[in-house]
Symmetry: C2
Subunit: 146 residues, 2 copies
């Protein structure tokens, strides 16, 4: 096992993990109260809305959202039940499956986005300068590949 | 409603929210698999272990962990059932209630900490330089007060 974390590392880590957890909780609570969508629902809808033909292979969706394959399967099943997404065989080779955005899913995203992004601004973006936001973007791009 | 987020703000935000959510999920999964504790359990145990006489008022615990009063009540009830914490009337004035760490709670924390902090190092700390970690600490200290 490597050497223990320093006091400074531990202090910054704790601030980050407690504060970011609270941020996730607040965003999730506000989004659910306003729209019935979870944050995972929202991120799947955004990913599909931006994809060519509004469809993404299940495996690629898992890696885009940094979710395990079993979590993505559970997530998409839940969204299918609510009519936000459907599953189809891959259009190019017929092997594997793709998640496809439904018109209802696109409407749900368009209805949810303005208020959600206003919460994001108020809870996070407005409190950071450009440099801080760039550092956050760079750090979390590294972390997601770990 | 304020002006929309810029393309750059939105890109950094998405990287952060997806990657930090994945980090939370991984830490929670590994901690639960190794110890049966959730991240909220762990953070309550840490807060109590560091408090004078291992006790904190419920309201103060909520604000320390940036949780709503109802979430803290639920969290502590769950930990009482598992013998990690008990609730007592406040020692100084008899009004209000305090969460108190049990010997079993302290043992659970001591058993869990080394492997959990090794996961924290491997998943996060090792990928940041000192300056990046300091920015993260500063930014999330601001955010938690929002």
């Amino acid at each position: 096992m490597a050497e223990p974390l320093t006091r400074t590392q531990l202090a910054h880590w704790r601030t980050f993990i407690e504060s970011s957890w609270a941020l996730h909780t607040r965003l999730e609570d506000e989004l659910r109260a306003a729209t019935g969508l979870s944050m995972n629902d929202y991120h799947v809808l955004v990913a599909l809305a931006e994809a060519p033909e509004h469809r993404i292979r299940m495996g690629e969706l898992a890696s885009r959202l940094v979710l395990s394959p079993s979590r993505v399967t559970y997530q998409i099943s839940s969204m299918i039940k609510r009519g936000l997404v459907r599953k189809e065989s891959c259009s190019d080779d017929g092997r594997g499956q793709e998640a496809v955005l439904t018109p209802e899913g696109l409407t749900a995203l368009r209805d949810a986005a303005p208020a959600h992004l206003e919460t994001v601004r108020r809870s996070f973006i407005d409190h950071l300068d450009d440099e801080e936001l760039a550092v956050i973007g760079r750090v979390f791009a590294k972390i997601r590949k770990v």
